[in-house]
């Protein structure tokens, strides 16, 4: 058996295989819920209801999707250029840290409509700098960015831990490792009064739209695709490959940092060590499921968030462990990767 490239994938091929992947995911999840001793239809129904069954559930899902849209975009932008940014988690924390540094009184003299953009810009800068180091090492010395960005995640987490146990520790925090809460002016307002959905979601959607435009319409987007698909030809033609990679890194790191900023300023109000349940890593899944398309990132982030939120509420009702959410995502990703392969390649015998 070997793979033969398909010259021009048909529409049926490019929609059929991903659809089949989702169907297979549901089948596998159903079998696993059977193993857990629950009715699969009921369980899936509960997940659906928990994710989108009510206004509250839906808003909760969108809330959870917000950081995933940012990290998903960050990964998608970088992967387009074949820049393997596995460090969205560290960049997330860099953004969250910046939100706390700027939003707990240091710039208290600024009105909210100045403070909020300044914090966002500061967060983006911090995230961009997180990724700048690995990319400069890659461009100059050929150091593998997978290793450096991945390891920076742990360094950053330990660094935040040190800060939260030391200089950033909230004196009123009863000894818990958490930062002081943000000033009211530094917080993102809610879109709907009384419900938890905040403006971070709106900014995430705007970001996705902007990335879409950058990729389709600007010279930078064209350069990023050229460098990603064939750096040798890009370099020969005169595309400044190193500069494009650095710009990509700044964009990617900045986007991931916005996730951390929006979680702190929109949802949590302060920084803790468990503020991210792996949003940076899940961003990779989101981006892959979206085939690196910014519009797709929004859809797949909401899908992934829905599974997490829905599985949480389902496990309370049906007594199936929430791990089912992780399994669902993992199988969805595996099948989707296979589906992507099968849209582009045909299996031939002999």
């Amino acid at each position: 058996m070997r793979l033969e490239p398909v010259a021009n994938p048909t529409l049926g091929r490019s929609i059929g295989f991903p659809a089949a992947a989702l169907a297979l995911t549901v089948v596998v999840a159903s079998l696993l819920t059977l193993l857990a001793g629950a009715n699969p239809f009921e369980t899936l129904g509960l997940i659906l209801a928990g994710a989108a069954g009510s206004k509250f559930a839906l808003l909760e899902t969108l809330n959870r999707a917000t950081p995933l849209i940012f990290t998903g975009l960050a990964v998608a932008v970088a992967f387009r250029a074949k820049l393997w940014n596995i460090g969205a988690e560290a960049q997330f924390y860099a953004g969250a840290l910046m939100a706390v540094l700027l939003g707990t009184g240091a710039l208290g003299f600024l009105p909210w409509f100045v403070l909020v953009p300044v914090m966002a810009a500061g967060a983006m800068l911090a995230g961009a700098l997180m990724l700048l180091g690995p990319v400069v090492l890659k461009v100059r010395l050929g150091v593998d960015e997978v290793v450096t960005t991945l390891l920076l995640n742990f360094i950053m987490l330990l660094f935040i831990s040190m800060l939260l146990e030391g200089p950033l520790k909230d004196p009123m925090g009863m000894g818990w490792p958490k930062s002081e809460p943000l000033d009211q002016a530094a917080r993102l307002p809610r879109i709907v009064d009384g419900l938890r959905l905040h403006w971070g979601f709106g900014i995430a959607l705007i970001s996705a739209g902007m990335i879409w435009v950058i990729q389709a319409r600007t010279t930078l987007g064209y350069e990023i695709r050229a460098v990603g698909q064939n750096p040798q030809a890009a370099r020969f033609a005169g595309v400044p490959v190193a500069r494009v990679l650095i710009k990509t890194a700044l964009l990617s790191g900045g986007l991931a940092a916005l996730a951390g900023w929006s979680e702190v300023a929109g949802l949590k109000g302060n920084l803790t060590l468990d503020i991210s349940p792996g949003f940076g890593y899940t961003g990779i899944i989101v981006a892959m499921l979206a085939l690196l398309h910014p519009g797709g990132v929004v859809v797949s982030a909401i899908f992934v968030a829905g599974i997490f939120v829905g599985a949480d509420s389902m496990s309370r009702a049906a007594e199936v462990p929430t791990y089912i959410a992780d399994i669902l995502l993992a199988t969805a990703l595996l099948f989707m990767v296979l589906a992507i392969l099968l849209t582009r390649f045909r299996v031939v015998r002999g």
């Binding site: 600007t218 698909q229 064939n230 040798q232 030809a233 890009a234 005169g238």
Partner: protein, 512 residues
């Protein structure tokens, strides 16, 4: 080659070999016989089906129809190794030798049983030495492969096949990497081999070699055997027609009218990269309205010179002037900005981006300026208009500008690159192996375009490993060897043999 021996028995018979890949029929009912002591040439353009046929013979592919018989015994289809065991040896274009092992070890590799490693080496050495003497394959059995020249490595490959008692030898484009002198030596060896009863299939698209070595010529075109002729009953012209399927006219450039020096290298050196030599104190003038041909054996610094003019590398020593202005901050983009049009050696990996559309590929060098973009915003309609013009003007056969370029044939891909380069109005054109792998129709087209560019006043540097091409097109010729450049030879002042001496690296010290 006359065959005085009576034994005209058939050693290899292919009957009705057909192989299809999807809609493409790579081999269409091909039948032929190879006699003992005979050299047949398999002639055909790239994509004519030569390689597929040999892969079927060696069991790498299974034929859809037809069968292969060696010495009267049918070969099991799809069994790699069966042909080898039956006495068929192949010398590939790209050698399969281990650089860090000796000649003898390479020859023995894979023939000795593991549990007797090292045993019988004396006998093996004597056999290799006998073979080397009988066939005129002079090579030191204890030399490391890495220290050998390309011609010597090829001798090792042939020895390897002979050591395994090959009675049928297949040579795939064996002269592509040889100097004319080395080619002569190879032909001497082949003549000795057939005199001893071996049979040879010689795969090539170089007509004069086919004429000089073979006794029969099989011509493949689009997967079909379109001609089988006795070599002494045909001529080069007739063979070329059979190959292409139409009357062809060789390009014949008119007298050049050289103008100013547009590019000057003075004492330029660049560092070696891995196995590839750098430039060694090179002086070069490219004049307007003149084609300078660069001849040389592959891997002697042509790549370094091409990279230098492309902007991929900057001189570490010496100076480079474009149109009388010393260049600073040399990069691919500044090279384009200085009016250098670059046709790269590898159009698939360097010249184009496979999954980009024709439009995206057509603006790869100029996307940052109007009419393709302004202030960072792409103007795709402007880019598409430009691409449509190129498609029209350069006769690029394709479904449209939105087609991904990897669906195009090599010739059409090259035409798009020509359009991209020429439409930018270059003063200096670097054409690195511009016709390699193209069919003859496309070859003629590309060569005519280069001559037209010369006549319009461009300075052209033509780098080619095909000496015939260099001789046909160039107004002046330089030979490159180990990063050094020979003096300039005017058109017609040197025979191929005289150039071969330079290609082999002789004469440089005297010329300095």
């Amino acid at each position: 080659m006359t065959n005085t021996r009576e034994a005209q028995d058939t050693v290899l018979r292919l009957s009705g070999i057909t192989k299809r890949f999807g809609a493409l029929t790579a081999n269409d009912a091909i039948s032929f016989e190879l006699k003992r002591g005979e050299v047949i040439a398999l002639l055909g353009e790239n994509g004519a089906g030569k390689t597929t046929l040999m892969n079927i013979l060696f069991g790498h592919y299974t034929a859809d129809e037809g069968k292969v018989e060696v010495f009267g015994q049918p070969l099991p289809p799809g069994a790699p190794g069966a042909a080898l065991a039956a006495g068929v040896g192949m010398v590939h274009q790209h050698f399969t030798l281990a650089d860090n092992m000796s000649v003898l070890d390479n020859i023995l590799l894979g023939t000795e049983p593991l549990w007797r490693l090292g045993m019988g080496r004396g006998a093996a050495r004597r056999k290799v030495e006998t073979l080397a003497r009988d066939f005129g394959l002079v090579v030191d059995p204890d030399a490391k492969i890495g220290a050998l020249s390309v011609g010597e490595r090829q001798r090792v490959e042939i020895l390897k096949a002979l050591y395994r008692d090959a009675r049928i030898l297949i040579l795939d484009e064996p002269t592509a990497v040889l100097t004319p002198q080395e080619t002569d030596a190879l032909f001497e060896t082949l003549r000795k081999a057939v005199a001893q009863g071996l049979s040879i299939i010689f795969i090539s698209h170089k007509l004069h070699e086919v004429m000089s070595i073979s006794s029969r010529v099989l011509v493949l075109r689009h997967g079909r055997l379109v001609g089988e002729v006795k070599t002494d009953e045909t001529d080069r012209h007739r063979l070329a027609e059979l190959m292409v399927g139409a009357e062809i006219t060789a390009v014949a450039p008119s007298e050049a009218t050289p103008g100013d020096v547009l590019l000057r290298l003075s004492g330029v050196s660049t560092p070696a990269q891995g196995n590839r030599p750098g430039l060694n104190s090179v002086d070069l003038d490219l004049r307007a309205g003149q084609i300078t041909g660069l001849a040389g054996v592959s891997g002697n610094g042509q790549g370094a010179l091409a990279d230098l003019l492309s902007g991929l590398e900057a001189p570490t020593e010496g100076e480079m002037d474009v149109a009388g202005v010393r260049v600073r901050g040399w990069s691919p983009r500044t090279a384009v900005a200085h009016g250098i049009g670059r046709i790269p050696e590898d159009r698939h990996r360097t010249g184009t981006i496979a999954d980009f559309t024709l439009t995206e590929n057509a603006v790869l060098e100029g996307y940052m300026k109007p009419p393709f973009s302004s202030r960072g915003w792409m103007d795709w309609s402007g880019a598409e208009r430009h691409t449509a013009e190129i498609i029209d003007k350069y006769d690029v056969r394709c479904p449209g500008p939105d087609t991904r370029i990897r669906l195009l044939s090599g010739g059409n891909m090259q035409k798009l690159i020509l359009g991209r380069v020429f439409e930018a109005g270059p003063n200096i054109i670097l054409a690195n192996q511009p016709v390699r792998g193209l069919d003859i129709g496309a070859v003629t087209y590309v060569q005519e375009q280069l001559i037209a560019a010369r006549d319009a006043g461009a300075a052209v540097l033509l780098i080619s490993e095909d000496l015939d091409e260099v001789l046909a097109l160039s107004d002046v010729i330089r030979v490159m060897s180990e990063g050094r450049l020979s003096p300039e030879f005017a058109r017609g002042s040197m025979t191929p043999a005289e150039l071969g001496v330079w290609m082999a690296g002789q004469g440089f010290e005297d010329a300095a």
